[in-house]
């Protein structure tokens, strides 16, 4: 009896330690990544200074690092446009699915839209390339935004459905029992009650769009000789700049890739903590 208890205890401690050890192992890569990016990218950013975000990328053999202005601007514009397109659609679909949950359309949409978040984004890139880019004759900021919008839609949808579900049943009843239609309830009550969740959803989808590489690969273009060429002209984005420069053989491109990665991570962390601090303030 005593011995078996001892063995159980021992096993417990062993397993607990193992779990913690494996957990630490799982998060070490983050710190390794941060270390790598801060060391390598930090040098580049310090070296280039503010001009890193205002200058054009260097030529392969140039000695100065230049900057990533087209990619930074392209990323900001494309993600904004993508969320502007997919946000309202995702919101309306989420509202429809949660409010009319007994309709078979809702049941189908719920599963299909959620499944779509698992679809390879490279296929979206191919699709937009063949339909939009081929027709317009050029890769463009517009095509890239469209591609991002398609990829971000299911994410925004997931966030917005949880926003709608965060509304307490008692407040739904309050709205309904005052004779509000569902649309009025949405306008006067639901949006107000869940606005922090909605904002978080928008922000998180924006972050998602900002960090995506594959959807932009064939659609966005790779603008290097000017900061902005127009909405229907090629542009650039930080993730694809990192991806393409990392695979290139030139030393100076590698440096720019490091700097751009650090920039990407800084932007990501700032937006992420903004989203978190928003949610922290949620109380009903």
């Amino acid at each position: 009896m005593f011995r078996s208890y001892f063995i159980r205890k021992l096993k417990n401690y062993l397993m607990l330690s193992l779990a913690i050890f494996v957990s630490v192992l799982a998060v070490i890569p983050l710190f390794s990544m941060l270390y790598m990016v801060i060391v390598e990218g930090g040098k580049v950013l310090l070296d280039a200074g503010l001009s890193f975000i205002t200058e054009l990328p260097p030529t392969p053999l140039s000695s100065s690092i230049g900057g990533v202005a087209p990619a930074l601007l392209g990323s900001v514009l494309a993600s904004t446009l993508a969320i502007a397109i997919s946000g309202p659609i995702a919101f309306l679909v989420a509202f429809f699915v949660t409010e009319f949950k007994n309709s078979s359309f809702s049941k189908i949409s719920e599963v299909v839209v959620r499944s779509f978040s698992g679809i390879p984004s490279i296929i979206v890139s191919m699709f937009v390339y063949s339909t939009v880019v081929m027709r317009m004759g050029t890769q463009s900021l517009f095509a890239g935004s469209l591609s991002l919008a398609i990829v971000a839609l299911p994410y925004a949808y997931v966030y917005f459905t949880s926003a709608m579900k965060s509304i307490p049943e008692s407040l739904r009843e309050a709205a309904m029992s005052l004779g509000m239609s569902r649309f009025k309830a949405l306008r006067y009550v639901y949006v107000g009650v869940s606005k922090k969740y909605i904002l978080t959803g928008i922000l998180m989808s924006y972050i998602k769009a900002f960090g995506e590489t594959a959807p932009l690969l064939f659609t966005m273009g790779f603008l290097m000789n000017s900061v902005f060429a127009g909405f229907l002209q090629p542009s650039n984005a930080l993730p694809i700049l990192v991806f393409i420069y990392a695979l290139s053989p030139y030393e100076v491109f590698h440096k720019v890739a490091w700097g751009a990665t650090l920039l990407l991570i800084i932007i990501y962390l700032v937006l992420f903590s903004l989203a978190r601090s928003l949610l922290k303030g949620v109380k009903l």
Binding site: V22, P29, L30, I265
Partner: protein, 310 residues
């Protein structure tokens, strides 16, 4: 639908076209991919699935393509990744929900969330620059030297860009997603079970093991969703797998996955008659595989949630 008020009906029918439109649009993407792939399927037939060759040529008669290598590569890397994800995410779930004090557990959760949203290109870069050479020198070489008689360790590691590296980075990048699902599921287990088990004097580990047993279908579903994610991931794989058209089961070899093949060949594929349709064919296969797996996974999650709620 007698339960609708008139204004609700108006709302319903005004949003319905949008909902149907979105469903139709998703379907269109699938059909379009299939349509674009058609010439390649017609030209190469089953060779597309059983051979591994990428030979573009100006003369269409000389073109030859087979996607067996990248297709197997996709399945192989995703399977390996899932096998790594499982212990990682289970350990994280255990640590966060049961072992660690609330504040440290919460901190770990934030770290996991940060990792979950980190742009994949950062993972890819890390995999290519840090992990690949490290794995080659400290893991692959010893494994090959001492366990080289096992077929999956039989090839000589050269660059470090390999199935193993890609799977590992995929696993690290996908673990946060699967962990989030598992924690969500674990917290859905009614607390009465937990109290009951702890009342019986079970140790933390025994309690977790028992409760986690209840979660089995949910764990399978989460693994399927993680697998499907890994299957579609492009950036990480393209930067770490070595991008070589070669069929291999040895984990130290470079190879291709469907997404990495598309990423590396798409730009030039337009120059040849069958290259682009072949990439679409790969895309179509991938799309079918990942949507079926996602669908099954999500259905399983829902079924489990329904069951646990009652």
């Amino acid at each position: 639908m007698i339960f609708f008020s008139k204004s609700d009906k108006v709302t319903f029918y005004s949003i319905l076209p949008l909902v149907v439109g979105i469903l139709g649009f998703f379907l269109t993407i699938g059909l379009f991919t299939a349509y674009q792939a058609l010439p390649s399927f017609m030209q190469f037939g089953s060779d597309l699935l059983i051979t591994s060759i990428w030979r573009p040529a100006d003369d269409p008669h000389l073109e030859a393509y087979g996607l067996a290598a990248p297709f197997i590569g996709s399945l192989y890397a995703s399977t390996l990744a899932t096998l790594i994800i499982l212990p990682l995410s289970v350990a994280l779930t255990f640590s966060i929900t049961e072992i660690l004090p609330r504040r440290i557990g919460g901190f770990l959760r934030v770290i996991i969330e940060i990792m979950g949203g980190l742009p994949t290109v950062v993972y890819g870069l890390w995999g290519a620059v840090v992990l690949a050479p490290y794995l080659r020198d400290y893991v692959m070489k010893p494994l090959h030297q001492y366990l080289g008689f096992i077929p999956i360790f039989s090839c000589r590691p050269i660059t470090g860009y390999s199935v193993l590296t890609a799977s590992l980075v995929l696993a690290v990048a996908t673990t946060p997603y699967v962990t989030a699902l598992l924690i969500e599921g674990y917290n859905m287990i009614p607390s009465k079970y937990k109290e009951g088990i702890l009342c019986l004097g079970a140790t933390k580990y025994e309690a977790f093991k028992l409760l986690f047993g209840l979660l089995k279908p949910y764990v399978i579903a989460s693994s399927l969703l993680g697998f499907s994610r890994a299957l579609g991931e492009t950036t990480i794989v393209a930067l770490t797998i070595g991008n070589t058209m070669r069929f291999t089961l040895c984990v130290f070899n470079p190879t291709h996955t469907i997404p990495s093949l598309i990423a590396s060949q798409f730009e030039s594929a337009g120059l040849y008659m069958y290259a682009l349709p072949t990439l679409f064919a790969g895309g179509f296969l991938l799309l079918i595989a990942s949507s079926v797996i996602s669908y099954v996974g999500i259905k399983m999650l829902y079924a489990w949630r329904e069951r646990v709620r009652v």
